[in-house]
């Protein structure tokens, strides 16, 4: 099964619901507000903490994003994509806060010309590793650690594509980078993370055989 097929299906279902939600929001329906909040608050918070690593600041980003959305609500066309808009605003608000913290640092530009292409080194075959290993907390932790070690620009692209289910074009729009950059960053992130898990699982295969 293709990994992408499921995420684009998820997005198109979201589109249909979004149009109805938008209509109800324009009528100031309290239920519509609850639905909006329930659907997006945690997702926006995760995006913001992923960048800021600070709960209080991330909360501020979520608040700012929704308030901006309420201001813009009347201008939203029925076909407009609420999800992409919210993510882009939350992303930009997070980046603004980061810039204030680290003014000298160059943030996510379009420059991807750094470093040689990575080639898979660990070819251990862990495709048939027991399900219990794959879902183990230990494996999860290895992956989480590897993700936080990724360059920031790769980490965000990976998140938006694989966890939040945005398409390549939507990810490019949210981050304000080119489609080509999204592809390059995603490719590198995937290979690096695969390598980390290959190292972990091959160690574990060795370990278990010793027992």
């Amino acid at each position: 099964m293709s990994v992408t097929a499921s995420s684009s299906a998820r997005q198109s279902v979201g589109n249909m619901a979004e149009a109805d939600l938008l209509t109800a929001l324009k009528q100031r329906s309290p239920q519509a507000f609850s639905a909006l909040f329930d659907t997006w608050s945690d997702k926006l918070f995760r995006l913001a903490t992923g960048i800021l690593e600070d709960d209080a600041e991330a909360e501020g980003v979520v608040q700012e994003t929704f308030l901006k959305f309420f201001e813009k609500l009347e201008q939203f066309e029925p076909r407009a994509k609420v999800s992409t808009w919210l993510y882009r605003v939350a992303y930009n608000a997070s980046i603004d806060k980061i810039r204030k913290r680290r003014p000298a640092q160059m943030w996510l530009g379009n420059d991807d010309g750094d470093g040689a292409e990575f080639f898979p080194g660990n070819l251990a075959d862990w495709r048939y590793a027991p399900e219990a290993w794959l879902s183990s907390l230990e494996a999860q932790r290895e992956l989480t650690r590897a993700i936080s070690a990724l360059p920031e620009k790769q980490r965000l692209v990976f998140r938006l594509r694989e966890l939040d289910g945005f398409s390549t074009a939507e990810t490019a729009e949210i981050l304000g980078i080119s489609v080509g950059s999204v592809k390059v960053r995603l490719h590198r992130a995937r290979l690096l993370l695969r390598e980390t898990l290959a190292d972990y699982f091959s160690e574990r295969m060795k370990r278990e055989q010793l027992l």
Partner: protein, 82 residues
Amino acid sequence: MKCEDLVAYLSEYIDNDLNEALTAEAQLHLATCHNCRVVLDTTQKMILIYRRQQRQAIPAARRQRLFTQLQSAFLNKSEPTP
């Protein structure tokens, strides 16, 4: 297609983003190259493991406060003057 090419196209192959000719070449290579098959399959497994992770939510107290603040901002917002 060589292993180097397959790896270079791996991500686009996963996303069904390659044209027909390249997809066919990639499939041909994957049918005969064990290593590339392993790299492809384990990359997809890695993605599945990532998606399965526990998703972090806003801590309850913050969530409640945000909800209350935003709800009143939303409901008290005056209609735009025509």
